[in-house]
């Protein structure tokens, strides 16, 4: 009985803290994050005009020209109006978060969602600080559990060299708590109250904006070419193998499928052309009936492994993107 009052007070303190944080969280706008917020705001407003979505990393964002894709579809008698929801460095579970957010406001059914096949992103603290702090927006309770499950099922060889499993768990937990407690987001709340439209909506886009981004043709840098050539040599010695990833990686694909099908659309997975040894593919046991377009083979698609079409070791330039979109559309039409 002596400790009852202090324990009750601690519990009530935590209840007050989390309750208020949740209330505030509900009122907070999506943080302004380059290229993500603008796409989501755009889809919230104009989403119903599109019937096809592409989602994935920079490989999707820069490799698929949605306007060209639509032109090929019209020419083949299967018109589509597509939007490229690719975001640089976006992988599961961030893409699931984005997809949920993009579909949340739709009134009309979708036709297709084309998903880039990717594994869950596991970052060490050093990686994140050097590249992106995007977890601040997508690490919600659902995604946090995904990351935790993935970290716990991680094999010792998957642990990044400068990190540890527990270090990563602690790091992500800290990011999650910061997000849930809305650390440092007071000014956004104040601005949201006074500003009628967020910055991302003030940016002018033409009415037919389709979200894709391209890199102008220019000679690939020598350092990038060296990386690419090394990978190609490696791949010539040992061809790439299909790899199912971890159970959580497959669960993320399955979750996407459920979400896409709940909007009346068909899911199509594609594997972009990459010079990596392991290509992550959907498990035929659970995703057997989902079509997979596989471009990950230098023998079958030598043109996609031509350095002239590359902007860097992992991305096409605009000429490469056009060529890839054409081939993609051709194979897509074959599916139909």
């Amino acid at each position: 009985m002596r400790y009852l009052n202090p324990i009750l007070c601690v519990l009530l303190f935590l209840a007050g803290l989390t309750g208020t944080a949740l209330l505030i969280n509900h009122r907070l706008p999506l943080p302004e994050i380059l290229s993500i917020t603008e796409k989501l705001h755009w889809l919230k407003k104009h989403g119903d005009q599109y019937d096809t979505l592409f989602i994935g990393s920079s490989r999707t964002n820069r490799h698929i020209r949605a306007d060209l894709f639509d032109q090929y579809m019209v020419a083949a008698g299967h018109p589509t109006h597509s939007f490229n929801l690719g975001v640089n460095a976006m992988r599961p579970p961030e893409d699931n978060f984005i997809l949920e957010a993009a579909l949340a406001h739709r009134q009309k059914p979708l036709k297709y969602v084309i998903v880039e096949s990717n594994q869950i992103r596991l970052d060490s603290e050093a990686d994140l600080d050097a590249t992106t702090e995007r977890k601040a927006y997508w690490l919600d309770p659902k995604r946090y559990l995904v990351i935790m499950r993935r970290l716990l099922e991680m094999t010792p060889s998957e642990v990044p060299s400068k990190s540890s499993r527990w270090g990563m768990i602690l790091y992500d937990t800290r990011r999650f708590v910061n997000r849930e407690l809305n650390l440092g987001r007071g000014l956004e709340l104040v601005n949201a109250h006074y500003e009628k439209s967020p910055k991302s909506l003030k940016k002018k886009f033409s009415a037919d904006w389709q979200g894709w981004e391209y890199q102008r043709q220019q000679p690939i840098k020598a350092s990038e070419l060296k990386i690419f050539n090394a990978r190609m040599t490696d791949l010539a010695q040992t061809p790439s193998v299909a790899y199912l990833g971890s159970p959580e990686d497959q669960r993320q694909l399955l979750e996407k499928r459920r979400l896409i099908e709940s909007h009346g659309a068909r899911m199509i997975v594609y594997l972009p052309p990459l010079a990596h040894r392991q290509r992550f593919t959907p498990d035929p046991k659970t995703m057997g009936d989902v079509p997979v377009l596989n471009f990950w083979d230098p023998k079958l698609y030598p043109e996609f492994y031509d350095p002239k079409l590359l902007a860097d070791s992992g991305h096409f330039n605009d000429v490469g993107a056009e060529l890839f979109t054409k081939e993609f559309a051709r194979q897509f039409l074959e599916l139909k």
């Binding site: 009052n5 009750l8 007070c9 601690v10 009530l12 303190f13 935590l14 209840a15 007050g16 803290l17 989390t18 309750g19 208020t20 944080a21 505030i24 800290r174 407690l181 809305n182 650390l183 440092g184 987001r185 007071g186 000014l187 709340l189």
Partner: protein, 496 residues
């Protein structure tokens, strides 16, 4: 390890939990002592040492604290046990020489050498511009002053020497006040260590609210205005005159919230362990004179300077000129205590002059007592005092402590002073300006501070059941977290 960091909260939870579980007072003091040294070491030694990284340059500073404690323990006993004034004085001088010597070496050696080089260069003699690279141990100014006060008190027979080394070591190294004060007096703190603290006597609500208030001051207010101030002082020449006014006003907010916020948290942390620390701030910006300002600002330092320096110099005794000399010397040394910079000397001198002028003014206008008691007069005097304090802050802030002392410190100060006094009417072409809306922020903060000064917030949260208080505190913390800038600036007073 800063009070506003998550690792401090976890560290304190451990200290707090173990402390109140221990039954004996000695065990508690040993626990506090260990934790204080761990806390202090955390400023110099990171977790990297556990993964085989070499020890950083300041790894031995905690041993210096230990040595200083041991020396004062021995000196205290020697002073106590001797009946001969000469011997007692000699022992006290040993303590003062060592304490001041250490302080001078770490804090002022570079300054003296640089000034000597500048002087020899100025009179045309060849001078080597080499300077010593000495790392300043965090909190050295605070704990040496604390140790000295103990020895002086024993010498003056104001208290008996502490025969229990554990008590003295805990007093000197007590972690809440170790690195940035308040400078606690032996007479105030050592008696608290004699008896076991009782949880029933702890004002938990008061301590939690005080901690939250200190946290808001430091993490939400001071750290939020700091980037604007830093931006301005990095290049005052590139800003308009109005920006100088905004920057100086914001700096007044920053330094007050930073230092008094730290003190509030230190007092609250100590209070949660059952100890009471000295009050350090009492709404200094509502002072109606310079004299009153020093009764309200950094109280533990100003009273230390009064009791151990001003009075030792002769205090109020003797001719007027002699008294004013004592005042000026005390304030100049008070300025130098903050750091080895001529700008700090100017800051101290200005405050010294203001104290002298205020005394004279008091004497000359003694027959105007009724006028001076009116509200209008009080408001006028408060605004004037605040304006003067801001002028002094310009010199305080102008020094870039991360770099060696140069003429740029003065240039920054005088340029800002011109802007603040309204003498910089023409700004250079393409001069940048700080957002004028920052003045509204300043006005808002000043209004809240005034409400607090009028005790509007002082008691209502004490009413009502504990459950409601806990729930409300949780909600308040959630709101506070919203306004914490994602990175923390170190406490300003850690540098002194």
């Amino acid at each position: 390890m800063l009070f506003v960091e998550l690792r401090f909260f976890l560290f304190f939870l451990l200290i707090f939990g173990v402390y109140w579980t221990l039954r004996s007072n000695t065990a508690r003091k040993v626990w506090i002592l260990i934790c204080s040294y761990v806390f202090y070491s955390a400023f110099f030694i990171g977790v990297g040492v556990f993964s085989g990284q070499p020890l950083p340059p300041g790894w031995w500073f905690p041993f210096m604290l230990l040595a200083s404690t041991a020396m004062d323990y021995v000196v205290g006993l020697k002073v106590q046990d001797s009946d001969e004034t000469r011997v007692r004085k000699a022992w006290m001088l040993v303590s003062l020489t060592i304490n001041i010597g250490v302080l001078v070496y770490f804090k002022y050696m570079g300054f003296f050498l640089e000034s000597a080089v500048d002087f020899t260069h100025w009179i045309g003699l060849p001078a080597s511009p080499s300077t010593l690279k000495i790392i300043l141990p965090v909190g050295i100014s605070f704990y040496t002053f604390q140790s000295m006060s103990y020895t002086i008190e024993v010498y003056r027979r104001h208290r008996a020497a502490e025969r229990n080394l554990l008590n003295l070591a805990t007093f000197i190294s007590f972690f809440p006040q170790l690195v940035a004060g308040p400078i606690v007096r032996a007479n105030d703190f050592l008696p608290q260590l004699q008896s076991k603290r009782s949880w029933a006597d702890v004002d938990v609500r008061g301590a939690l609210v005080l901690f939250l208030v200190g946290f808001v001051k430091k993490a939400c207010i001071s750290d939020s205005v700091a980037p604007f101030v830093d931006q301005y002082f990095a290049n005052p020449h590139g800003y308009t005159g109005l920006s100088a006014i905004i920057a100086v006003l914001l700096y007044a907010v920053q330094i007050y919230c930073d230092f008094s916020g730290y003190t509030d948290m230190a007092i609250a942390v100590a209070r949660l362990l059952g100890y009471e620390l000295t009050k350090n701030f009492d709404f200094p910006y509502f002072a109606a004179s310079s004299t009153e300002f020093w009764r309200r600002w950094h109280i533990s330092l100003s009273t230390w300077l009064r009791d151990y320096l001003y009075i030792s110099l002769g205090g109020n005794r003797g001719a007027k000129a002699f008294v004013y000399r004592n005042l000026m010397l005390t304030m100049i040394l008070g300025g130098l205590w903050h750091g080895a910079r001529w700008t700090f000397v100017i800051w101290g001198t200005l405050h010294g002059l203001a104290l002298v002028l205020h005394r004279e003014w008091d004497r000359l206008t003694s027959q105007w007592k009724s006028l001076r008691q009116t509200l209008a007069w009080r408001i006028f005097a408060t605004l004037l005092t605040f304006y003067f304090v801001c002028v002094c802050w310009i010199f305080f802030r102008a020094a870039d402590l991360s770099k060696p002392m140069t003429g740029a410190d003065f240039e920054r100060a005088f340029h800002t002073l011109r802007g603040f006094l309204g003498l910089k009417l023409h700004s250079p072409h393409k001069a940048k300006s700080l957002d004028i809306r920052l003045l509204y922020v300043f006005a808002g903060l000043a209004f809240i501070h005034w409400l607090n000064f009028r005790r509007v917030f002082s008691t209502w949260w004490r009413k009502g059941p504990d459950a409601i208080f806990a729930l409300g505190l949780g909600a308040a913390v959630a709101v506070v977290i919203l306004f914490i800038p994602v990175t923390y600036a170190p406490f300003i007073y850690f540098q002194f």
